[in-house]
Symmetry: C2
Subunit: 661 residues, 2 copies
């Protein structure tokens, strides 16, 4: 079980309050709400949309700009053939079972999880144990299990259930079916038996063009477009390796039964990096030294398989050195991912990196670590960092024949000693006729060991006998007049290889939601209203402009300030409503607006203004240019509030409503 | 016919060279190229992706930030019911005809256009007239008409063809069918007769969820999401009108037969604004005064219907005053659209605004002006600015019952004199029994005129007779014991209305392409290589860093400069290849990189650098901070090169390769 979730200030966290705030202030809202909504689809309102844009902006600077990544924007519509080759048509699926009597559909792993959790909870009730807050929460969500019976379990059974729950992502369809049989898991609503789990492909299908004969899908990831463009990107990068491409865009997943709000949706924003690296030489990264001292919390595969969840705190330098993390490039990105998450305001105590277990990995992955963020739903995968090896480039190259490889001149030519077979083509044709090509191919395919052995046969018997399935009786004799076999030295000047791919893949919507949970708290004096303490860089609106009253004298100052801030690219809103200043500020606490400017009678006299910090409610006073410079520094991340409050004189005027001045 | 396209410097424009540059340098590339591609789908490579992002960034500042628009991000997946209500299921279609023998499909209007254009061209050849460059170009494109026969036409026929071509967007399916009959238009490949045009819906269909019973589409525009959220957005805006929402995202259109590269694609980026305005009071705009002196070139509906294309140059203030443009809000946005286009670098001589003709307008539009940009394909619609009236909010409200209206307290209560009918409910029920409700509804629906007349009947006859279809024989008598009809005064304190919507809608891909054509030219000394003169603000990469050679002394300076520029958010690339400085600069001319920094031996000595302007190839010299400040000013649009070259000393050192120093 994940630790209990707390607010930014360490108080008990109430998800319902945050969700209510987020919907009320239009961070997000169910799509097509007036039509009854469609589950798994959400719209982002003005603050949500601005927050997302700002997260993306930081992401682009942190990754793309910083490392000169090659950003591309590829189409979402993708023809069948591409996703057939990539494996998604066959393997991008969840396990679904059906109640044959009612037609109701269940996602198998979720059902098993939910039923076992309910039984454990019933067991606790029966034993009179304390129910944890998190478990209470489960009751409030839309759940398949409506009533939890207080039934005591055997200790051994309870432990078995817990072990299954720890490994729930690790079962395939067949195994889930066995669990359902073993634990007698049925439709919780009516106790009907369910069909065994079958695979349900999670891609949205459509057809492209007017004649309906070109089947296509909405992409399940942005990665494929990057792989297909590999050769052109390498050319764009003047053949230099390693390099990374990146893409920001929507992807789609036709969830069987979406739940958990923004965490499991059918249409979502991703930011993905494909870092192409030489598989030889240990997958080094040129900037690894810059991050080697970054400390991470790692939860490896073996610990999980033993049914535990103990993390190990270590620098990424050490983790790569000991082999806990496979290579420098993977390690470099784990550290960079953490630095990014901290930059946008994720709570450092609520990050861990979990290694995927074998069955849990996507079909293309050789190794994978997830950056998980702690939320009230438990630890949630928000960034995946997979080593896709050469999987994708290899399958696409095999299918299309396009050279998705790197060719580089060798510093030292490679000399290879090998057994070579030479055929006398003139005699070969007349002897084997229509089978000539087949026999030739069979010889071409002979291993070095076999060639060595056959060279002796040739000397001894004057002929060789080789297997050629489909020709004659499957064996063919080749006399020495037609073939010579000799050991020679071949020189290779060019090295050709298929790069491996390290893929950090960010689910922006999940990060967005986790960030809101991590930023949320309420003031002691005003617990009914929440505060969202986003860092200024990513806050949806940077500045609230508040004239003391609707007095006409204030109006030109409002306009001047607002225009001046717009000119330096700082988003701001004016609240000249009749509400008290305290109330106006506290309304904007909910939107996460970090700074406030008050215009008062003093402003009219001497052109000075009060600048207020959302988190401390501290205020300083300064002239127009000083205030704007301070705001710009805070928004660009060049300074913190502590710097400003040292630089500018404190303002001790009483603030109405909330908090100390 | 559109005027001939020229380069930025007024020379003859060669589309093939620009397209070759754009593909070679990966501005864009056909999607799934290694799988043979899918027509109408393109990927944007690194410079294309960066250019798009920068256009969007300017757009967001120019519109959203500047006017505090409420940006939202809604899903692309849209259930059937929403698009049925909006009219897209029934009306978002093109006319398609089929060759019944071969199965080949044609878009009817394009076929008519192409065949008539070919005949006019054949006529010119027959008459020995000069063929215009643009017409020559047509031959090079993938066209249905492969061979153009030199056949002379009657003068009258030729004029008729030209008139049809001028109005080609103005025909519906039936009319296109008649034109095809009249002019004997067939499959150009085999002369087969074609089926009459039928409507082909242009939305991509899919199904949402595992049970396949929720049909959905990929949105054809971002607008619907904004309309559905209207009530929440109004609430977010604290009930203040007018206000605008905005959305940037992909939309989809399953083109019958895409052509013209980036101009007609199946998946495209849109930026749309929905400005909600009170329909009463002339649709004024609060900031109209700020733009009233902006001059536009307008091509109105009547001129086009007369078969001409003469534009009128006028200020938007005058155009609204004379009624040429219907109202201030529409006029405000036309001017703001032009200012935006100029800001990103569109050639002012290649913009015009064309009013839609009646049949050409989308089903929801009451009036529409397109910002058209001149390209080598002719005048291309790049921004639509439609008055959608109350169409969308009305249909969605009617369908769902959601109150998509504005309610505002009236300053003066409205007194309405009206005829009111009072029923004696106690007697009414027993008399009409099961028909009671129907009769009551029929009375409720009576018009004021009829009520007045019936009040006289009631006085005279002691009863009234009204039509009630479906009750008795369709007529019902109501005696005076059951009803009184009196003239009274009703007072309304709240005004309720459905806002009208003005919608500026930007096709970012088309603007992108037109911008590339408008920015393109080549230097006299180096005609083989193109230059893309994007303004620094939107150029994909801002600075090229060029060390004089690969000498080790230069390396720390390269890294210092690059990091410093990254810190101030300026994208830059290093070219330390062995190519000559001139060649390295000219490679980056093709990418539109506006600035170059040369690191030479002097730099190593005194930490000064040369800054080069792409367009003039002028160079200035300054210290690290001076150079970075100048770059920042240029990139943020605070200064132009002329300002910098006044401020910093000219550098007259010889530049290798191209141009004057």
């Amino acid at each position: 079980m994940a630790p209990e979730m707390t607010t930014l200030k360490g108080k008990a966290f109430d998800r319902a309050s945050l969700e209510s705030l987020m919907r009320r202030r239009m961070f997000y809202t169910p799509s097509f709400d007036i039509y009854g909504g469609v589950s798994g689809l959400y719209d982002y309102g003005p603050p949500g949309s601005a927050l997302t844009n700002n997260i993306i902006d930081v992401w682009r600077k942190h990754f793309v700009l910083r490392e000169n990544m090659l950003e591309v924007d590829c189409t979402m519509l993708t023809p069948h053939e591409v996703l057939k080759t990539s494996g998604h048509v066959d393997k991008f699926a969840d396990w679904m079972c059906k109640d044959p009597k009612t037609g109701e559909i269940f996602r198998a792993d979720h059902l098993v999880e939910e039923v076992l959790e309910a039984r454990i909870k019933g067991d606790k009730e029966a034993r009179g144990e304390k129910i944890e807050v998190e478990e209470e929460d489960l009751k409030k969500k839309k759940k398949k299990v409506k009533n939890i019976a207080a039934v005591k379990l055997d200790d051994a059974v309870r432990d078995e259930y817990k072990e299954v729950l720890n490994k729930i992502d690790n079962y395939n369809g067949e195994e889930l079916g066995l669990l359902m049989k073993k634990y007698d898991i049925r439709n919780p609503a009516n106790n009907n038996e369910l069909t065994p789990p079958v695979a349900f492909n999670l891609m949205f299908q459509t057809s492209i063009g007017p004649s309906s004969n070109l089947a296509g899908y909405l992409r399940p990831e942005t990665a494929q477009g990057q792989f297909l463009n590999f050769a052109k990107l390498l050319e764009f990068n003047q053949q230099q390796m390693p390099f990374a491409s990146a893409s920001i865009g929507k992807s789609f997943r036709n969830e069987i039964s979406p739940r958990q709000g923004l965490l499991r949706v059918r249409e979502f924003l991703m930011a993905e990096i494909e870092h192409f690296v030489d598989p030889e030489g240990g997958k080094k990264h040129p900037y690894f030294d810059e991050v080697k001292d970054v400390e991470l919390e790692l939860l490896n595969r073996d610990v999980q398989l033993s049914g535990k969840a103990d993390v190990e705190t270590t620098t990424i330098g050490k983790a790569v050195e000991t082999g806990l993390v496979d290579n420098e490039t993977l390690g470099y990105f784990l550290a960079r991912i953490q630095l990014f998450l901290l930059k946008i305001g994720i709570d450092p105590k609520k990050i861990r990196f979990r290694q995927h277990m074998a069955n849990e990995m996507a079909h293309y992955a050789a190794d994978c670590w997830d950056a998980e963020l702690l939320t009230s739903f438990g630890w949630i995968e928000c960034v995946g960092c997979a080593d896709r090896s050469a999987y994708d480039l290899t399958v696409h190259m095999k299918k299309t024949g396009a050279p998705l490889v790197v060719r580089e001149p060798r510093k030292e030519p490679l000399k290879i000693e090998e057994w070579q077979c030479d055929l006398d083509k003139k005699k070969f044709g007349p002897k084997f006729k229509k089978d000539g090509k087949t026999v030739e191919a069979a010889i071409e395919a002979l291993s070095q060991d076999l060639r060595e052995k056959l060279s002796l046969d040739l000397q001894k018997d004057g002929k060789i006998t080789i297997d050629v399935p489909g020709v004659g009786e499957g064996k063919v004799e080749v006399p020495k007049e037609l073939i010579t076999i000799e050991k020679r030295t071949r020189v290779e000047n060019v090295r050709e290889y298929t790069p491996n791919v390290i893929e950090p893949s960010f689910g922006i919507g999940r990060i967005f939601y986790a960030l809101c949970e991590h930023s949320y708290w309420s003031r002691e004096q005003d617990e009914a209203r929440g505060v969202l303490s986003f860092p200024p860089t990513i806050a949806p609106t940077k500045v609230l402009i508040v004239p003391l009253s609707s007095h006409a004298d204030f109006k030109p100052f409002v306009r001047k300030l607002s225009n001046k801030l717009q000119d330096i690219g700082v988003s701001n809103r004016v609240d000249d409503s009749g509400a008290s200043i305290g109330k106006r500020y506290s309304r904007n606490d909910e939107l996460g607006t970090p700074l406030g400017i008050t215009i008062d009678f003093q402003s009219v006299k001497d052109n000075t203004f009060t600048l207020r910090d959302r988190d401390s409610t501290e205020q300083v006073r300064g002239g127009l240019d000083e205030i704007c410079a301070a705001i710009s520094d805070l928004v660009e991340g060049r300074e913190k509030w502590a710097d400003i409050s040292k630089r500018l004189p404190k303002f001790e005027g009483q603030e109405e409503g909330v908090g100390p001045s």
